[in-house]
Structure formats: structure tokens, C-alpha cells
Symmetry: C2
Subunit: 195 residues, 2 copies
DNA sequence: CTGTCCATGTAAGGCGTTACATGATTGT
DNA sequence: ACAATCATGTAACGCCTTACATGGACAG
């Protein structure tokens, strides 16, 4: 379960409240690990019960207490253990592929409309990620990129590569449906082999 | 929820028992929509209650009755409606990216071992998909690919493209960690732009 | 004076997983 | 004799989502 470990990860950088954590998720990892508020509060309580985090309760007059969470030693150890352990093979679910797989039940026109709307979305995400990428380039203009920033850059680059690949696949699919060309694509094109 | 619609999809091709459905899932869509047995039985019961499928009960002496499910008219209509409707933006969870994002807490050596084991897995999946691809080429050798086979081919091609992209990203990441080169990669490389 | 931000949670439901349980038939 | 296949399900738990609920501070 990565949510627990993502929370441990953020807390390893600084102590935070549940509310702060939600903002951190939304600002950095939401593209690959969205988390909602009730989930974060519940998971913090679990981590607390397990002794991986502990909290300082800040009493405030007339308001709910504020709880600032920080890692315990066992929490840090667990985070490091998880980060260094290879992940068990994970299964992905792609509803778009389910739609394509059973597209025999719909017309070419209907399928094209589905594919085109997916393509528009993929291009929008790609544009958004590209904008963030350029922003980061300004922050670390030359060769002065520190190791700490590198990992965030890497996850961004994954997003760029993945959405670009999705876009290319969609575009190729659209063209072939339009041309009613049902032959398989050549392998080198698919896996992006260089000539 | 795509499981319901995947089941409707299979039943649109032929009536099946729960057991048959499980085999169909495992043989064709497991790469992008794994389903387990108890889930299938529960969902069939729900679909039945909703009137999207109905069943013929085949009584057998000394054994449990066999239930063969088939689509109803509303079931087919619902399948077609879902297949033609653009999907709501779906959020993905990538635990590997969580590991990379917080890799500041582990050493280069530990990170490299994680990345290399992911790369080995990605290459294994790519090899498996490539084998299936070649098998399909034999089945439809020339230009005689029918529309019905095309959609299955398309989903396979998606898998090839996605795992190839993952592998390229992992390899690039490994090389940069090894070289302690923390500069961002150039955009055209990332999105696979042609020169 | 209305809405957004800060900050906390609870409740209910959906989807998925793992493990358990049964029992005849077919293959080695 | 033993295992795999056919064929059905139940139980319990885990993770995530949506919606609901509270209430002060501050900005337009």
C-alpha cells in the first residue's frame, strides 16, 4: 500500500498536519498518486496506531485541536525499507482498452469519436506536463541540478513519455480506423526502435 | 465500472457460465483488466438483478446446477451505450513513481537495484507481448486482417508501446543515476519526437 | 455578507483481493 | 492414487470515493 509510504515520505521532509499533507499531494504527486482528504486522515490515524508516526497536539481556543504529525524512528526505517524493496508485479486496469477490445459492437464513427476525445485529453495532459517541465528548467537552468530535484524531474519525465506514447498510439489507431486498414502495425514502429 | 461492461462484452459474443467467463478474461484481457473468480460470480448476480443479463439454469444430477448467462436487450443497449461514451478522466496510481519521488531517502545503489529489477520485469513483459504479436501475424499473415481481429491487435499494440516506453525511461534513469547526471533530459527525447 | 481558506473528522458504499468450501470427472 | 479441471459460491477484509458535518478567520 503506497499511500502509507507516500505519507511517510512527505513526513520525512518535514512535520505536517493532515491538511498540509493534502496540499502536498495535490501539488506534487497527484499525477501518479491522487489521495483524498478523508483517506489521508484515516491513514494518519492508522500510522499513529502502528507507531510509524506520532503527533503533537496543538490546542487552540474555540477551534478543533491541530495535530502535527512527524515520523518516528520505526517510521523512517519502514519508509527506507519500502523504498529499497522491489515492488510486487502490479496489475493495471485500462478501461479504454476494454472499450477498444469490444468495439466490434459499435460503429467506426462511434469508435472514432471515443478515440478522438481520448486523444484530446492526452494532448491536454501532455501540454500541462510540458509547461511544468519548462518551469523546472528555469528553476535549475544550467548543469546545476541537485540530486534532490532529480527524482521529481524523473517522475515528470515518466509522465511526458507515457502520455506521448498514448497520443501516438491513439493517433495511429484513428488513422487506421479512418482508412479501414486492419493490418497489424510493424513492430519497430510500436516499440520505437531506432533505425 | 468496466468489469460489468467487460462481462457484457464477452456475453455479447456468446452465452457463457461464470467459469467460462473467467477463462475468457484470463486468455484475452487479463493484461489490461484482470478479474478474479469471486468477483465475476458476484458481478454476474448483480447484472442479473439489474436485468442486463439473464440465465438458463441447467440442472445436473448429483452436481451443482450450471448457470449459462446471456445478454438481455437492455444489456446489449447498455453495452453499446458504454462503448460509445467517452470515459471520464481516470486517475492512475503508479507505486514505482512514489518510490522514485522519495528516493532521496535511499542510496544510489539501492535505487539502482529497484530500477534494474523493474527493467527486467518490463523487458520480460515486452518479450511475452512480442511473442503473442508474432503469433497473431501468423494467424493473419498478409493483408487479410478482418475488422474483428483488429481491436484485439490494437490492445496488444498498446501494451507493446507502453512497456517499450517504460523500458526506455527506466534505462535512461539508470544511466543517469550511474553517471550522477541530474540534469533534465531534453524534451524531444522524452516525447519521442522525430528529427 | 458571501465565499474561500484553514483544519478536523464520520458514514456509507463500491470495487477488489484472499481465503475458504464443495464435489464430480478426467487425465497420469 | 493423486492432481487437475469443471463449476459453483461465501466470508472477511482492504482501499478508495462521495457525501456529510463543523466552525473560526479573512478577503472581496
Amino acid at each position: 500500500m503506497s499511500l502509507k509510504h507516500a505519507i511517510l515520505g512527505f513526513l520525512s521532509l518535514s512535520p505536517l498536519t493532515g491538511y498540509d499533507l493534502k496540499k502536498h499531494f495535490d501539488q506534487s504527486v497527484r499525477h501518479f498518486w491522487p489521495a483524498n482528504q478523508s483517506q489521508i486522515y484515516r491513514t494518519l490515524a492508522e500510522l499513529d496506531a502502528e507507531g510509524l508516526v506520532s503527533k503533537d497536539v496543538i490546542a487552540r481556543e474555540d477551534r478543533l485541536d491541530m495535530k502535527v504529525y512527524h515520523l518516528t524512528e520505526t517510521g523512517l526505517a519502514e519508509l527506507r525499507r519500502w523504498l529499497a524493496a522491489p515492488l510486487p508485479m502490479q496489475e493495471t486496469r485500462e478501461p479504454l482498452l476494454v472499450q477498444v477490445f469490444f468495439a466490434g459492437q459499435i460503429t467506426d464513427a462511434e469508435l472514432l469519436s471515443v478515440l478522438r476525445s481520448q486523444l484530446a485529453e492526452a494532448e491536454a495532459v501532455l501540454a500541462a506536463l510540458t509547461a511544468i517541465y519548462h518551469q523546472q528548467l528555469e528553476g535549475f537552468p544550467a548543469l546545476a541540478a541537485p540530486r534532490s530535484a532529480f527524482f521529481s524531474t524523473l517522475t515528470l519525465e515518466y509522465g511526458l513519455a507515457a502520455y506521448a506514447a498514448l497520443g501516438r498510439w491513439l493517433l495511429a489507431a484513428i488513422r487506421r480506423v479512418e482508412a479501414q486498414d486492419y493490418a497489424p502495425a510493424p513492430l519497430p514502429d510500436l516499440i520505437g526502435a531506432q533505425a
